[in-house]
Subunit: 344 residues, 2 copies
């Protein structure tokens, strides 16, 4: 049996059993954006890790070292953001093929350190080794939070407003431009490529949402809205109804879709690597939170639907039709080959 | 410029600058077996990470999944052991090529979980992804210690006794058998292969040495005795004198060296992947510690030399000749190709 037969989540299910040896002090083990461990009264530690490989997550010739270093840390910052935490210490493992230039690696660390400095994160260690073929980067990031303010995937309640922190689908469109070597000429295309290469981790937004006391569940959108909403729904035992006309779609995405014959709603639902936060907010608190959020960040918190009791996810399209919303987005072990985008 | 031109430590020196953004709470950043972070009064957290790649650190066809999973965790346990800590929580990233069987991965996690259970370590998270070519495993391990009992590389004092916890060179001999597809027939060869595939992390030994209050510096022998002693010497600003006839050499290693025309002392000095602890002990306390160690573990703590004020490392051979001891062992970016064993 191979991984394409059972998929990434099938693998996680198989290997996840028997991993918890001591439950004392462990608040959340495998199954959320980060593990949550009790450290001292009033604080918990959050730990997350992400592995990036050449030819799977990036093409060395299509990104600068600085972009790559930025992104390797950013995706971890996004996980800590989704838990409502403050990122603290990073550990970076890197495997370097023989044909990789020192200058590229220095640029990579420059990009990573600049982002680390912006978020006050230390890089405290790591491992460096050779690689026979691909450049490999693994970042482990530890953060911290108040235990009463941690955001999990499992808390969504029926009636909650489903929200996102920013526009969706841009990163996927940017990836299309990069993979097809389409020149990023003009500000629209540049914005899309930038959304893919330099996603902005929503750390302050995550902290705000965690502190406001009415956010019941959260995740960062790495696999795609429908997939990641599926994770919240599954962990919370609820369904969800998304109104597609409420999805925040950027002008550059709409221009891209017009030009390349894509449906912007599909792009937004299956996006992947948006690194916006997706959360569910108690309905009675939503307006006040939305208001405070907009004043604090100068951008809206976008309501896109509701949590339902049905146990399934649906989308209501602009023509009023309700159709089942299937998780779609990245599965690294999709049947049609490693690291292909799949629809399941 | 390429990595073979500046080596692994040249790279670490270049990329290590500017990694510490906040010094508050950080007791040790880059440069030891693990980072040391203050968590709560009376406790520090230790964090280490190790990246293992196919065709660099292992051959998939030459090890069972269970051996590989065991070793990926064991090398991290050894780092925590070298700091005198208690290992606690592990995070496992894995990148899987298309031709890797589920059964192999399940076996890998089985080997890792069995070792985790033995050391009471939780596996609390990770990342799973595809790989275009090689199987990649990164383990990050967090541990803890009493801040007054952490063992660093930098504390060695002139006059200290240099000690190791077990025999050296076996792992390298086992690797030779594996790489050259020499049948591991008979208990001697099996012991050597086992030393390579299933190194025993010296966690209890590290805790004992840390608690006895007279161990000034420690490291685990991953690169090879002469290299790792060089790390202690450099970090402590001292030299060392090793008596080669005091090196613990196993009977299987001697048999191997007889058969394959190797010098067992060279094998022990340049070994690599022994995962024994190397430490320096206050001279006046040594005998009492050695005595207690032997009673506790049923094996000796081997004195192999002295810390000196010369600033250089020498070996005194059995014929009484004193020669300079050059660091030798693994450098992943050695000039003669990635992941080749080098003599510098």
């Amino acid at each position: 049996m191979f991984l394409k037969d059972i998929g990434e989540f099938g693998l996680i299910e198989r290997i996840g059993r028997g991993c918890l040896i001591r439950s004392e002090g462990v608040i959340k083990a495998i199954g959320d954006d980060a593990a949550v461990i009790r450290t001292r009264p009033g604080r918990v530690q959050l730990i997350t890790t992400d592995l990036l490989l050449e030819r799977v997550h990036f093409l060395r010739e299509a990104a600068s070292g600085a972009d790559l270093g930025y992104k390797a840390l950013a995706v971890n910052l996004s996980d800590i953001a989704a838990m409502g935490g403050t990122p603290r210490e990073a550990f970076v493992s890197i495997a370097v093929p023989e044909d990789c230039r020192i200058e590229f690696l220095e640029d990579l660390y420059r990009g990573m350190k600049a982002l680390a400095a912006r978020y006050e994160v230390n890089i405290l260690g790591g491992d460096t080794t050779a690689s026979a073929a691909d450049l490999v980067i693994n970042v482990t990031l530890a953060g911290e939070a108040d235990p009463s303010e941690v955001l999990y995937r499992h808390g969504a309640c029926v009636g909650d407003v489903v929200c996102v922190t920013g526009s969706l689908g841009d990163s996927r469109a940017g990836l299309h431009l990069i993979l097809n070597r389409i020149a990023a000429d003009g500000p629209d295309r540049q914005a899309l490529v930038r959304a893919h290469l330099r996603p902005r981790p929503r750390v302050a937004e995550g902290r705000f949402l965690a502190a406001c006391g009415a956010v019941h569940a959260a995740i960062d959108i790495s696999d795609g809205l429908s997939s990641d909403l599926g994770h919240i729904a599954a962990a919370s035992g609820v369904g969800a109804c998304i109104h597609t006309r409420q999805l925040p779609l950027s002008a550059p995405l709409k221009a891209f879709c017009g030009e390349f014959g894509r449906d912007p709603v599909d792009q937004a639902l299956a996006g992947g690597e948006d690194y916006e936060l997706l959360c569910t907010v108690a309905a009675q608190a939503f307006e006040s939170i939305q208001d405070r959020y907009a004043r604090r960040f100068g951008r809206p918190l976008y309501p896109i639907g509701k949590v339902t009791a049905t146990g399934e996810m649906v989308r209501v399209d602009s023509d009023g039709n309700t159709v089942r919303l299937a998780p779609s987005g990245w599965d690294h072990f999709a049947k049609n080959g490693a690291a292909r985008r799949c629809r399941r």
